[in-house]
């Protein structure tokens, strides 16, 4: 590894996040901050404490941008895409981001202007479309652009193709892969493939950032358990165990971000949230000194 990756948090605007994370910020434990900027666009203003954090981490060159709603693989370009890119230009003129990432998949189509990100079949036209969308993202002013692997898959073909799809999407813009380990864990649980085997499918030399989070289980009508990337629970041991392995295999990783959805932390959860962060940090330190 070139240098130890920074370990930080995904910023949420809810008060429960602030309550749980404030001791970590105050102790100087949070080395890097990630902000899903398009979540903030629909609000008249951000809380002053969030603005202060964004300004501070931006000024330190430790602020990462992570879009949610661009919909890089929608079949057609709509006014939504143009409006999103215009807002991104404004965002990039206001704050200094080290890099900007988005999600693999699509979430707008027909009269749906938003949904959950869903996978897309790997075809030549879908690939060219996604490559062009990433070029536009870069041309909007993002210095480095990347995509995050998706947790959800309709079936095994999505699982098998996503790594190659991402590699070919990222190649023309020299983009980076944001490897979400909990998303790999979801596919591992749901399709019976080991996390390490799944990693083999991805362009690990392109990884600049890792995501780590918890999630939940749901049960289908047939009684099958499905792992979900809901960001509302403790980090599973299997995901923490995958961190050193991932860092060893992804030597260009610059940042490791712990995600937890705002509004999901009760006062009783706060200590566990901080413990997960500290354990993650210890795993990253351990990997750096291995």
């Amino acid at each position: 590894m070139a240098e130890r990756p920074l370990v930080g948090l995904s910023l949420m605007l809810e008060e429960d996040f602030l309550s749980a994370a404030l001791p970590l910020f105050e102790a100087g434990e949070v080395e890097v901050l990630e902000w899903s900027f398009d979540i903030g666009w629909s609000r008249p203003a951000l809380p002053s404490w969030a603005e202060e954090l964004l300004a501070y981490y931006g000024s330190q060159g430790r602020l990462l941008g992570h879009g949610v709603t661009y919909s890089a693989l929608s079949g057609v370009t709509t006014p939504h895409h143009e409006a999103w890119l215009n807002q991104l230009r404004t965002e990039l003129s206001r704050r200094q981001y080290v890099h900007v990432s988005e999600h693999f998949g699509f979430m707008t189509a027909g009269d749906f202007h938003r949904s959950a990100p869903l996978p897309v079949p790997l075809t030549d036209t879908a690939l060219r479309l996604g490559q062009e969308r990433l070029r536009r993202l870069r041309d909007a002013g993002a210095r480095h652009v990347g995509l995050e692997n998706l947790a959800f898959a309709f079936g095994r073909q999505d699982v098998a193709d996503q790594g190659r799809f991402l590699e070919e999407l990222l190649q023309p813009v020299d983009g980076f892969l944001l490897l979400d380990l909990h998303n790999l864990y979801c596919q591992s649980c749901n399709f019976g493939v080991a996390i390490q085997e799944l990693m083999n499918l991805y362009p690990l030399n392109c990884v600049r950032e890792l995501h780590v989070s918890g999630g939940s289980w749901s049960q289908t009508s047939g009684g099958q358990r499905i792992r979900r990337d809901t960001h509302d629970g403790r980090v599973p041991e299997e995901v923490l165990a995958a961190v050193p392995q991932a860092l060893e295999r992804c030597p260009q990783t610059r940042a490791v971000i712990f995600e937890r959805l705002g509004g999901t932390l009760s006062p009783a959860d706060e200590a566990g949230y901080r413990e997960d962060f500290q354990r993650l940090k210890a795993a990253v330190h351990e990997a750096a000194h291995a």
Partner: protein, 71 residues
């Protein structure tokens, strides 16, 4: 921009079907029998009903339509 109208039609139909909360197998059957979506029939054949159940939940939770009432 090299738009892909066939992919767009597939995605719109898929989201619409998921939002209606139909049975997973009937969604698969619909997608596979729609002649306009013939290019995607092989892909749809790889869909697993248990994962479609999850997709239905995801769209119910996060889906927003133009002119729709915010959830």
């Amino acid at each position: 921009m090299p738009d892909d109208p066939a992919l767009a039609r597939f995605q719109a139909t898929l989201l619409d079907l998921l939002s209606k909360g139909q049975q997973p197998q009937s969604i698969i059957d619909h997608l596979r029998s729609d002649r306009e979506l013939a290019d995607f029939a092989e892909y749809v054949a790889t869909f697993e009903p248990r994962m479609l159940e999850v997709a239905i939940e995801l769209v119910a939770k996060w889906g927003r339509r133009e002119g729709g009432i915010p959830k």
